[in-house]
């Protein structure tokens, strides 16, 4: 059982099992133990169990034929098999497999799979150019490439808002939204228009029409939303600046899930003209980048710098917020923070969140309710359900919510003052796309309690990719964003502060 023919037979048995998604055969042929590797364009899974779980959750592999097989035998020990695959959809792929002779049988100890890239990843992007809009002048952002969330006007193109029925009725924009124009005026190219959760009313990044963008930092993790497309575009290296929006965390949460810098600007500091609203009291422009320097430059190019203020490294933490975090995120934050910072009491966190949610819901329904009622079936279940709840908010509830909002603002401003709140950006690392509803809802509720503080106060908030948590089944840890919520108009200062926080 150790010759060339045996390896070749094992290869073909494995290939047939892949094509027929015969999980029993696959489980048997994959080498047991924690050292087995399966890598593809999404990342590398480590260990038989992680590979098995992944294969049992998915629906099999695309149809393909094997065009060539090369075998390099390492006598009585192992063999490398390299195959050229031809997917039914065209192009060519490569499989590289290390087979080990284990107890007299050939087992796959490592696999590296390459598949041909699509013209464009439609879960990330709606329209892409090379570039779509070229910078008109040179500037500090020359060479930077922007993925624009599909809520902003880009001249010449319609806005889709993550909803095909909305897109179908949209006329091409006649001019750029100011937040888009500011980046172009500073020298950046617009690469394309990137996907969003429907009407930006989700933090998961799972668009039912266009698919779920990949999260290259967490295997099988959701990208986070609602600025899912711009975030994944930047994390994948397909753009250097994501232009997003943040109502309840839609810039900060995907930044945290994917290990990027994400800055929610001070409410009202950047014009929201020619931008699809969700809840105007909370809606804010934001940016996602791989580097602190780039997020700072994007913010400086867009903000009225004469209004920006400095911020001192005068940090506080709110233990009541940490109680809403998953253990791994809490541990990562506490390992970072130790007892180095003063603590503050923000009040009843659940009450704060309910206040936020009441006003957000009322405004979201006012903004989009008429269109939704005129387009039954246009939304997926998740966002449709959220709007259905929003529709139930009465005028009395909204009025009470606005009163509570004013009070919450006064209280939070009084407690926080000019200090900077440190908080995990999200309550968890990126949940798996296969996670059950209980985990998804618990982490969502936790995260929104963390992110609503900036929304309630209109304060700028940064997610800095400075923390991490163990990622079972992967070679690298999962990113955890460190959140900084600063005084209004301290946007750029927050980035500078964060760069000094690396420990």
């Amino acid at each position: 059982m150790s010759g060339y023919d045996d390896v070749e037979s094992a290869f073909w048995e494995y290939e047939r099992a892949l094509q027929s998604n015969d999980l029993e055969v696959l489980d048997r042929l994959v080498a047991p133990g924690p050292d087995t590797l399966l890598g593809d364009d999404a990342g590398i899974l480590v260990g038989h169990d992680a590979i098995r779980a992944f294969r049992h959750a998915r629906d099999g592999v695309p149809r393909r034929v094997v065009e060539a097989v090369e075998i390099r035998l390492i006598p009585d020990a192992a063999a490398l098999v390299v195959a050229i695959t031809a997917p039914a959809t065209g192009g060519r792929g490569q499989q590289t497999q290390l087979w080990n002779l284990i107890g007299g049988s050939w087992r796959v100890a490592a696999t590296h799979v390459s598949q041909p890239a699509p013209a464009v990843n439609g879960s990330v992007w709606r329209t892409v150019g090379t570039p779509l809009v070229a910078a008109s002048v040179a500037g500090v952002l020359s060479g930077e490439t922007v993925a624009v969330k599909d809520l902003y006007d880009v001249a010449g193109f319609p806005v889709g808002a993550g909803i095909p029925a909305w897109l179908a009725e949209a006329a091409p924009a006649t001019e750029h939204s100011p937040a888009v124009a500011a980046l172009i005026a500073a020298g950046a190219d617009i690469v394309g228009i990137a996907q969003t959760d429907e009407f930006a009313y989700s933090i998961a990044g799972r668009n039912p029409h266009y698919g779920t963008p990949p999260n290259p930092a967490v295997l099988g993790g959701v990208p986070g939303g609602s600025s899912s497309g711009p975030t994944s575009a930047v994390a994948l290296g397909q753009a250097s600046i994501g232009l997003g929006t943040d109502t309840a965390g839609s810039v900060r949460i995907p930044a945290s899930y994917q290990g990027l810098w994400g800055l929610r600007s001070t409410h009202g500091a950047v014009s929201r003209e020619r931008l699809i609203a969700l809840a105007p009291t909370f809606d804010a422009v934001g940016w996602l980048t791989r580097s602190a320097a780039t997020v700072s430059a994007a913010a400086e190019a867009t903000l009225d710098m004469s209004r920006q203020i400095d911020a001192a490294p005068d940090y506080v933490v709110a233990p009541a917020l940490l109680a809403h975090c998953e253990p791994d995120v809490r541990a990562a934050f506490e390992a970072f923070a130790g007892d180095a910072f003063d603590t503050v009491e923000l009040g009843d966190i659940d009450e704060l969140f309910l206040t936020f949610r009441t006003v957000q819901s009322a405004e979201a329904w006012r903004t989009h309710g008429p269109w939704i009622e005129a387009h039954p079936g246009a939304l997926g279940d998740d966002v449709a359900g959220r709007f259905a709840f929003a529709a139930t908010i009465t005028a009395e509830q909204e009025a009470a919510g606005r009163t509570a909002l004013s009070a919450a603002r006064r209280t939070l401003d009084s407690v926080l003052g000019d200090r900077v709140l440190l908080v995990p950006t999200a309550s968890s690392t990126a949940p798996s796309v296969f996670a059950g509803p209980e985990h998804t809802e618990r982490t969502r509720q936790g995260t929104l309690r963390l992110t609503c503080i900036a929304g309630l106060t209109g304060r700028p908030a940064l997610s800095a990719p400075l923390l991490s948590a163990p990622q079972p089944g992967a070679l690298l840890p999962a990113p955890v964003g460190l959140g900084l919520v600063g005084p209004r108009f301290s946007d750029v200062a927050l980035v500078n502060l964060a760069t000094q926080l690396v420990r």
Copy 2:
């Protein structure tokens, strides 16, 4: 010299050599002999010499850091090294290497490299959507995806013609070119606008502004042009139909180089409205696909089928054309054709080509000369030189050329009649991007002598991916197109005939 630490040291030595493009170290660390493998998204190189030649021709690899390394030791024999790489431009890649212990030293016997995909490959595409234009109705082409050569009007988008200076002055098209509209009306989606050689005046597919699209069938081979973008898009699986143009072979040649079906339609059978011309006497619409069924369906959806005629399997070959082929292509054709077919004399092939070239040149200059003179420096050297030659054609030469063209048509029509000429599509397999000017020019001259027969007669011509030639340094042979030149309006019949020619 056989432990984990030694493998790790060797890995890092190799990685440093890759990053510094230290060819001497790379040559030493790559296992000698013909079995060594190097695979990446472009394909798989086989043998130390092929890998060495490739590395000496290129400029090194993009800057990256290694984020994780896993080593699986096969004691005293080999080791597998798997690394996660982080390119400076974002995203993550994977390296898988098999190291063999050869004469006491570790050598790389196989490598599989994955790099993150760009948002869109700008050498292939200019603008891409998901889709860019959706089909308005269901039809026989439902599910098909079209790459439109950047010469055709696509409503809402400017035409670039492969030239940034032209694009900069272009207004968005107000309606689709008829050849585009026909595919949409039959149910196809338009994926995007794909690159072309400047003004379609080349057969190489090397655009100096946008780069050279990859040829997934020939490692390091040019894609062929001028319909380079649509062809590579289809070969890569990024579209299923390439909509091209063919003046002197611009559909058939890239089809031959990349192993696709390529059909040049009967001259005048498809409207050329809203399509940038080159030489109207010869310009023809054409399609590129991976399957015979799809090219046939695209043609049927576009052509006036009431004018189409049948064609009998009444084949002839022209030995004088074979004399212009490289030995490998000639051998592939002769192995296929044997002595099964009647031979014909087409006359002096050089004279025929000169006649074609004179009229083509005169028309090309008439079409684009004024714009070129008004935009010095807008074209790359190769196409600029071709236009500079075209500008030298005098009115007397053109008049003589047109007289000779009429005579050539009569002669060729008389010789060929209703029969179908079999001929290699191109004189060579795809030349290497690193090929010297002598090889490039010789194969170009040979190929144009083969392709001009259809141009001179206005006949439809098909390139069918039925032949191949050895490809040293690769696991698969290089494709060679079998050309079929049929009676005018036998376009669809040629595809049917070719499907019966497979031997």
